[in-house]
Amino acid sequence: MMDSGNAGGAPANNPSVKGPSVDGSAANGSPVISLRDVGKVIGGKTILSDISVDIEPGSIVGLLGKNGAGKTSLIDVMLGFSPPSSGSSRVFGENSFELPAAAKRRIGFVPQQDELLDSLTGAQQLALNAALHPAWDQALIARLIGEWEVPLDRRIQVLSGGERQKLATLLALGHEPDLLVLDEPASSLDPVARRQFLRELLDIAESPTRTVLFSTHIVSDLERVASKVWIIRDGRLAWAGDLDTLKESVVRVTLLARDAWPSQLDIDGVISRRDEGRRVQLVLTGWREERQREMAERWGAEVSVERLGLEEIFLELHS
């Protein structure tokens, strides 16, 4: 469970890793999203379990997880599409499942499977969305259409996956939401378009009051854009905190001893262990510089420490 007052990089029950809470209440009033002990069970199968986390205004949070880890389910619960089986989910201080219209108007959402109407043109689809939002910013949309090269005169059914994705994102931006939630926004874009799209995402999120949450299973996307990261594994939050803190906290330590290592090592925060004779490789969480010296003294071993990239951390967490 993620508690608001959790200390940064503190080791947790292996292999789950707990980071500092993204608690907005301390920084900027009430959090945009607040989840407390959220669980979701469908047909006897646990989809989400024990998720407690907050998002502060203005942050860009990347939700990372394998296919089927529960990213979309978490977003569905968060935005009120689905009630939590246990715990509570609040957006802008309101119960997600009973969101009032005023709170909904502050949310922009791009679902994983776009909800575009195939028989319409892009322009008609935009007009439909504009009709539902009193504060539709046509100037912003016109600018983005030009920059993203979205064809509006063609029927949506003939648009490519990337063009559909861009159009779906436009629809979520037109009313200038305070909270933008994107479920796998760049999954159907080619590398060039993805890079451009993520750059735009950064521009969009520039406003200090706008919060962005996007889910992905592409680690490089997240590394490029997000300042905070949530890693979800098997419906549980394995990490929630600053991206930099995560990178500093999780390291690969190689210990080289004179004799073979015992099967049990009394070390906190071990995510994985590989033995190669007198050499043992550990991936540890909650790393602090002084632990290197402590280890060397305790076992009389050579200790070398290697920093990991986000992709390696992600793989280790799922190994």
Binding site: D76, S82, A101, S119, Q124, A127, N129, A131, L132, Q157
Partner: protein, 461 residues
């Protein structure tokens, strides 16, 4: 060859509805065999089985053929089918074999029925002629559906006009001098020729578009007004189409096509099998019209239910208001489809021959069934057919037979309880639909993804 055979079987057993229909037809077949045994104590004065087999199983077979034809059309539009070499040839071969098997089984049933006991209720034609007729018609039906929903608008319209002309000439086909010269093998050969032409185009053509998308061309969609009201936008999101009129027009077109196809089939049956003894009878064609608003409103209400997720954040309305909007939309669609279809049916009941069958009772049954169909649709958040669809079908067709079998005045009086029961059922379903919508959990009904196991299974099949 194995792949072709597998495809043929898949066309008839892929969905739960198809399997239910097959099981029902087999049960009827078994029951018919049992009751026609000499030792059976069943009363001989009036044997309902010819009517059950001729009507219910016949309608089920037609539905199966239509469903398999629709499957072929839908699968043809899949990118995977287009990319895999020879897959289209296998599909086309499988569909041909499926119609061959269906015609053989159908002809066997008809022969068993026709030769079961003297006097035979209907004077059936020869086994070979029956088979050729069924096979030819089945092939025509499959090709026709591909052409009507295909990429060429000219071909679609041409086929519809042809069907309309054919149905207009039904009376001419029923003249005794024409009936005296059945040419079943010509029909079968024509069916095979149509099939070969279609297959030649199909294996060489560019991937056909998904069905229905080709129907959405036209000014109303491409150049429609950009200024829309909030109410119109909400409707468009719920229906997935620009307007309710457009959706209802599509449904009306589909049901009029079915209607014309049944009339054409009846004309062919009259021409090739029943000959002089079969009285002109439009009852099955009329029941198709009666069935139209039931299925139509079920489909539209289901679309609104599945699209409701789109409006949760966009529209801003709470769940109860969303439900009220969808319910109102469904009732409006029922009015737009029900008035013309029930109206035409009423006219046909009045002016077309239906062999003395009382069509008033089925008409009342179908009208009173529509609220239940509407609320079943609103309950259906999944993107697939469910058994409720079959239940509606059985009730609608059952009404026709109930009108046939019950002869005593008291029995007929009792029959009129059924419409009241159906209305009450609609009320119960409304309560269930409200309850589901007020607490709807869209995550439970998330659409099958292309990468999911079930999605892959469908694509593979």
């Amino acid at each position: 060859m194995k792949a072709v055979l597998r495809s043929a079987l898949q066309f008839y057993t892929r969905t739960r509805l198809q399997r239910w229909l097959l099981a029902g037809a087999l049960l009827l077949f078994a029951a018919q065999l049992l009751t026609t045994r000499p030792a059976c104590p069943c009363p001989r004065s009036f044997n309902p089985w010819p009517f059950l087999l001729g009507g219910l199983a016949g309608a089920a077979a037609a539905l199966l053929t239509a469903a398999s034809a629709w499957d072929l059309r839908r699968i043809s539009a899949l990118r995977t089918v287009f990319l895999i070499p020879h897959s289209r040839l296998k599909l086309a071969g499988g569909m041909f074999l499926a119609q061959l098997l269906a015609a053989a089984v159908g002809a066997g049933l008809v022969m068993l029925l026709g030769d079961a006991r003297p006097p035979s209720p209907l004077s059936w034609g020869s086994a070979r002629g029956t088979f050729e007729m069924l096979f030819g018609i089945a092939l025509f039906l499959v090709v026709l559906l591909q052409v009507i929903t295909g990429p060429s608008r000219i071909l679609s319209m041409g086929s519809l006009v042809l069907m309309a002309l054919l149905s207009l000439r039904t009376d001419l086909l029923m003249k005794p001098e024409i009936l005296g010269a059945p040419k079943a093998h010509v029909l079968a050969l024509a069916g095979i020729l149509a099939w070969l032409l279609f297959t030649a185009w199909y294996v060489r053509a560019w991937r056909p578009r998904a069905p229905f998308l080709t129907w959405s061309r036209g000014r109303a969609s491409a150049d429609g007004p950009i200024e829309v009201s909030r109410q119109k936008a909400i409707r468009a999101f719920l229906l997935g189409q620009p307007s309710l009129l457009r959706v209802c027009r599509q449904q009306l077109t589909i049901w009029m096509i079915y209607h014309l196809v049944v009339i054409a089939m009846m004309a062919a049956m009259k021409l090739l099998i029943a000959r002089h003894t079969f009285p002109a009878n439009y009852s099955m064609a009329i029941i198709v019209l009666l069935y139209g608003p039931i299925v139509g409103v079920n489909v539209i209400a289901g679309t609104a239910a599945r699209s409701s997720r789109r409006l949760w954040l966009r529209g801003g309305e709470p769940r109860n208001v969303l439900y009220a909007t969808a319910e109102r939309l469904a009732w409006q669609s029922l009015a737009l489809m029900g008035v013309p279809l029930f109206g035409v049916a009423l006219l046909e009941v009045r002016f077309l021959p239906h062999a003395g069958i009382d069509m008033l009772f089925p008409l009342v049954m179908c009208v009173t069934l529509t609220p239940a169909a509407l609320y079943l649709g609103l309950l259906n958040f999944r993107r697939r057919l469910d058994v409720s669809f079959l239940a509606l079908y059985i009730i609608a067709v059952g009404a026709l037979f109930a009108g046939l079998f019950v002869e005593s005045p008291r029995g007929r009086q009792l029959l009129w309880i059924a419409p009241l029961v159906l209305l009450a059922m609609g009320g119960v379903l409304r309560a269930l639909a409200r309850r589901r919508w007020y607490g709807i959990d869209w995550l439970r009904f998330r659409a099958e993804r292309a990468t999911s196991l079930s999605g892959l299974r469908i694509a593979r099949s």
